[in-house]
Point group: D2
Chain length 404, copies 4
């Protein structure tokens, strides 16, 4: 539960974080869309603002005037309910509204939102839930912003560096931590999914896809204490892993060959040495860091090559919430599972536009668990279900193996 | 367990059934490939023969001479291990080998196989397992043959009829059966997957993907006793189901719009009445028959529109093997579940080419349970896991709902 | 002018030639369409028959009954006027009508046509013109039949031989002829295009695109007496011609790289030697034969590499009809010019479906002059304008250079 | 001949004009590439600068230091000779170099060029020719800049206005001019192509594709005095011109249907009235202005619908240079001809990178004659051969008919 007295502060803190992520950008960096998956940063800044305007201010703040009539067309994303949206691949064609215009839009909406939030002594529960959803929605786009900025600059021939302290600090913190023991999940029945009792402090936000909590039966499993490192992954490359169909799912093998994949995203081999694009520019691959920017196809192939497999999302959740022994330590990379993204028993899609949030994507995607160095503080929990198609690797993804 | 004394007979009976399916075809019907998923009938007849030649005769029958050097190139399918294969979409370009040549190939291999099988008094277990796999492989292609023949003729502007007694007889038999009660699965732990104890009579064949049997925890669920009928599905169409995004998964909605989908495959609306292509030619849609040739997207959308959902593969298996109450009656349509096709705990991919059989497809596909009127006798069981991508509808697919 | 007394004979002789071309085929060879440009042989046999039925019998033969209602849908080609046509790339999906059915269709139409033609003592001029167009239309498809049969068998992994005596005889006849002197075209004004005075014997057929005869001014030019040979072309290959962008038009260079072109169509390098598919099966490339199956891009690149160029269509026509000196000898390969296929002054598109014949293709295509060993007897003249897109090479195309 | 004493001034004036065109842009407008044909404005500014650096300064200015090593990779266009170029469709992904960086690049090169040009008292002829080519190259990109800016803003949902005085002034000047009489070209032999004698004042610049001047024979032809107006073109639309295949070339009809074309580019029908995007924003279509932004397919279809045709490039040139009577008045729209873009007799491709300039595009393109309101002053003459593929309509194209 978000404490009511601080809701405006909380709102403004989240909003400021979106802008902090973009602090190092040039105006031009806000505009381009090199591939369909990557949105222009100014689109994220506009879209998150449109969310507040459309779902909070317009229906709830009497007399609120839209900042600009056309913005709802430009900044809508997937919401079929709310008017015609800009096709995802067209976003990078839009030079207007300008970046300055988008920041004005943000300032305008923030001012109205502050006034709106300040106006409540006790906010009705359904409105509060909507505010919390909006904050979490904006946090999700903060993480996407980091992915997209990395992609835009990492695919520019100048390979420019950009300040991204929130990520580099986290990466360094994790790298300095000691090794972790494996997590042993004993055979038995486990309850998975979000339960109010998980949150004795009353923090109750969670997405609809984490419900309903339900029981699953698990065989005994041991999850590795640490993620697969770059050094380990290079052995797979050097062993010809990308050239041998035996390690790959059929879809993965087609993906490797169609796209000429030979290494994780952002890796470049120069005179026999592997380099990778980072926010500090091109740097040698750190052998001790967990491998990053791999697809589920690559994660699965690596696991098969090692004679083991990826965990399921329920094995992961059980390992992360072990009652006895040492639970998993996580948070550095989004960890690919071998679970398809499907509804939990009792899942019900909410009515209206907000109901389009998660449920309709429950087809063709894979669950990732944990969090990454790009995840905003406070936007993670053991029941969180992230999801991407198995070929995606511009998120900060990594590999945790089952120890057979 | 296949009784050793009858192995040759069994082999010849399965082989004859493949040819019986094609009895009504013209030579030209054997050759075409209207879309990538549909293989030319002569390819199925050649490929199944190539399987026996390549995996049984060549390694095990001393002195065996290949029928033709180039056939292994032409009739290989997915097996990356065994030489370069004809790209799937190229199959329909091959006028040679002729249909007569393929039948000669079958006769040649059948003669050598008969002699080979007759030569054993007691066949070693691993060889026997391979023979059983070959028989089941051929049966799978028998069902695909029926799908593909229907597609080829059902997409010809002359809409020609073709004799297919094995299907029409089964369809009539099912349609004359009485209604079935719902199957109630009580909450609890169930064992799913193939177990030797399932087969008191010793018949032990099953695919690798049915292993390892393991426990799952299920909430109480009730599955409808009967499949959704054409009459019920027409209500969905008439209610604008194909025009309302709210009922659809995002991938499904994109599929509907990209392909202009408005009804099940083979349906044509003529002067306000729905007709469908059948093996007897164009016929009015039978309101009482279970809807057929729908994708999982359509099955899922129908279920949402009805306010319910598709069962998982484990709910289905539990309902089909109920210890108390009336188990499901099934076998008319392959029933879409809402389970992704993923490995069971302990699943291990076999070494060698036969190991490419199932495991590498465990990505992006959906499990179907049951069997259809096109399934050969003896090629079904409650633990059988069929799988297709969710947009496929040329198999004989249908819809069973969960009763909420 | 076709002599009236022999019109039925002439008709039947042309019709029989279409079937003679197909004599060596298996039923399966009639059905497939490996690429969009190549039509199934049975389609050509049906389409030419449909032409007679649709444009001659239906409007002119009272009481004529269509052979089959659906055939006009199946066998229409480009004629937008006459109902919905089968999309060109769908032709290879049609197993029905069967080959036998198409031959029955031919026999039926031939019988009615014979009776129809026999019924005239003096045929009206416009009907006679339509009959002549039909005969020439069928001859055009005879040549395409030969191209398409070669493509179908030449892209089958078995590379089967097929009897095609009308082509192999012509090829041999030309190869035994002596070398030819260059043809010198003096500077001046020339009249090009079809003129009645060209045909003192009264044979007047020509296509609309050969009209109106008009004057052009030509600089002095010399055309090579002989076509570029395989031996000469191999020097271009060996000199890295396909790897050096300098020789190529921008569109040609993109075509080479997109399609991985390294040699003429049907050429295969095996252990350092060049082989080519012929109607007798795979054979070593004959160094003395004129190169065949090259695109205009290749012809143009070869010419640039030799420091010269291709002739224009008017230079060619002047050289082929020289009043003084030795005119060109031609007829072995269709000779790529560097002229775009555009209307002559005064060209007028005829009304009705027959008017769709040529004019609407006058965009994006290149004129070829002469004839080839696949051209039916009597279907060539110095004013004939053949045309294909510059990337096409399944016709029997060759290269004649300008001598600079 | 460019007078030597003013070469630096001339250079700086041309360079300043490129920047003047962009004066009204926001930074973001410089970056996007909505379709492959449209380059980001900053790319044009960089590419023209790269031309001076690469072809003039690097080989001729001793001690010249490249502004930035990577810029030659980023700003190369079609020149295969000079290193690997950025694929044309990737240009819109490049947020860096920034717009400010590109302007610094321009300033740096301008400074070095000024010093370099000032250093010559008498410039060698070949170097002077290269400078003139560079100036004309930059002028060509100035016109493309105007096209591309219009496309970028005209496809933005906000339809923003932008100052473009050089265009709007020209448009107004032309619209205020009186009607023009038709131009009658008598039958006879004409010399076409660039001849030194055309330029008594010694101004000799022309592109290689205007050579060699040669004789052509023309029938008598009359060209309309004025271009087809919007009012006239609307009649074609209202008569169902876009729905009737009879008016269209086969390629044009496919283009209309594939792209859903229903009107010229930038036209929008709102409540039954036609509006068009202009540099002043959305405005009603002016019935008296010449139609603009039509493809050659549209121009050709309009002409057929009117029962006439487009002129050839030689008819146009003869009409523009009539010795007797009133020559054509032209310059408002690029006028589509019905001539393919092909080499003149004696055309020779120059050696080296500059030789890639024109010759390699002589395939698949159509000649346009005249000039448009977007053409820089001094960059037009009666022998100028502009060229585009027949489907292009983002240039300022129009229609002049032959009067039959």
């Amino acid at each position: 539960m978000v404490a009511e007295q601080t809701l405006t502060d909380q709102y403004l803190r989240v909003r400021a974080h979106s802008e902090a992520i973009c602090e190092g950008l040039e105006t031009e960096d806000y505009v381009v869309q090199p591939v369909a998956d990557v949105s222009p940063p100014k689109w994220h800044l506009g879209h998150t603002t449109w969310f507040w305007e459309t779902f909070v201010l317009v229906p709830n703040a009497p007399g609120y005037q839209l900042f600009h009539d056309d913005f709802s067309y430009v900044f809508n994303s997937y919401y079929e309910t709310v008017g015609k949206r800009v096709l995802r691949t067209d976003r990078g064609n839009l030079s207007r509204p300008t970046v300055a215009g988008v920041y004005q839009y943000r300032a305008y909406v923030d001012e109205h939102m502050s006034r709106f939030l300040d106006g409540y002594e006790a906010m009705p529960a359904d409105l509060l839930a909507l505010i919390e959803l909006g904050l979490n929605h904006e946090q999700q786009h903060q993480e996407l912003l980091i992915y997209d900025i990395k992609y835009i600059l990492g695919h520019n021939p100048l390979l420019p560096a950009v300040a991204m302290p929130m990520v580099t600090r986290q990466e360094a913190r994790f790298l300095s931590a000691p090794a972790n023991p494996p997590a042993v999940v004993p055979e038995g029945v486990y309850t998975v999914g979000y339960q109010p009792s998980d949150n004795p402090d009353g923090q109750s936000f969670h997405f609809d896809n984490e419900e309903t909590a339900h029981k699953v039966y698990l065989n005994q499993t041991t999850l590795a204490g640490d993620l697969v490192t770059n050094a380990e992954y290079m052995k797979f490359i050097n062993a010809g892993g990308y050239q041998n169909f035996r390690h790959w799912l059929a879809d993965g093998w087609a993906w490797v060959n169609t796209n000429g994949i030979q290494a994780p995203l952002y890796w470049h081999q120069i005179d026999g040495t592997w380099w990778q694009y980072t926010f500090d520019g091109l740097a040698p691959v750190d052998p001790n860091a967990p491998v990053c920017h791999v697809s589920q196809y690559e994660a699965d192939a690596y696991a098969r090559w090692k004679g083991t497999r990826l965990p399921t999302e329920f094995e992961w959740e059980a390992a992360a919430t072990l009652a006895t022994g040492t639970p998993l330590r996580w948070g550095m990379r989004w960890e690919w599972t071998n679970s398809a993204y499907l509804p939990y028993p009792g899942f019900v899609t909410a009515e209206g536009a907000v109901g389009e949030y998660n449920g309709k994507f429950m087809s063709g995607q894979i669950v990732l668990r944990g969090a990454s160095v790009a995840t905003p503080d406070g936007h993670s929990r053991p029941t969180y279900r992230n999801f991407f198609q198995p070929d995606k690797r511009w998120p900060f993804t990594g590999i945790r193996l089952v120890n057979l």
